[in-house]
Symmetry: C2
Subunit: 189 residues, 2 copies
Amino acid sequence: MDTMERLIRSTQELLWERGYVGTSPKAIQRRAEAGQGSMYHHFDGKPGLALAAVRRSAGELRAEAEARFSAPGTAIERITAYLLREREVLRGCPIGRLAQDPDIVASEELRRPLEETFAWLRGRLAGVLAEGRARGELSDGLVPEEVAATIVAVLQGGYVVARAAGSAEPFDQAVGGLLALLRAHVTLS
Amino acid sequence: MDTMERLIRSTQELLWERGYVGTSPKAIQRRAEAGQGSMYHHFDGKPGLALAAVRRSAGELRAEAEARFSAPGTAIERITAYLLREREVLRGCPIGRLAQDPDIVASEELRRPLEETFAWLRGRLAGVLAEGRARGELSDGLVPEEVAATIVAVLQGGYVVARAAGSAEPFDQAVGGLLALLRAHVTLS
DNA sequence: GTCTATAGAGAGATAGAC
DNA sequence: GTCTATCTCTCTATAGAC
């Protein structure tokens, strides 16, 4: 793994753990085992490095989710698989976490990957739900775009409450409650 | 308003806007119009001041929520009123926001008010739901504790996605989807 | 209670040698 | 490409005068 790659991965890790405000160039260099000059040769500074790291994390999140959405099964099966997939709950979401960072939100360029990631996620979930409805798997009463937004919010909020509690339990309960609410709308086969 | 009070309120605002890591004693002093010596006379430092501010914010959040929960009306009416109450969505939740902060979560003392606040909130919502179920307003199929966790997560996650989008729209959609899912379990009168 | 002085450490870069 | 030196601010206090 070359220096530039190590710098990006170290930045991804630190942004996840400490956010943008809590991450210093020096800390990145230490973790990447790269020198000062090395870092400023490859990137123009903290914002540029963060942008590369955020884009990388966003792509990874998207690929991970897409694997569940495009798997075989009914709409509700795929969404359930996505909700119940293994997660390191107490670490939180590497993208959602950054939405709380004042310097990320203040920068149009750094915020955009976050916006696009969640827009894609909501759109993809809405598509799966609409598909399920068209196939008669789900009741007609639901608006796919709304329910998709609810699903994303339950995951993001689940992380928040779990971190506050120092335990994954609130996350699991929130997902359990969501699945129970969704099940009422599944047309039993 | 005396100096100590101004220090606490300024800290509350800054923790909300910039988090613990992003808030410096100097910034607090500036906003409170208090000098260095003044701040360190009243508090032992940044952690102590933050603790006072977090406890204050937690109490305010609780009072605000309790007003909705103890209002007259059916369970679903009170929960709907709580969900739809006016919020400054893009500012996020003053408590939930801190759950992303590495230094808050690393400190048992600073994390505890967050844990207690959400535990209270989930318990109170579960109580309202259980009451509604006992009165025959809600279907028996739901586990109050789970649905309560889902409701809290939708709000917290709604803030996250809204901030990422730079717009309150995802928050409103998520709440709309949750209300639609809940409505299916309301026993119509 | 509030003020000013001081201080070691880190943040976030720039410059120039190799 | 990488290294070391240097620089200006800021962070988070402590000390002592008023």
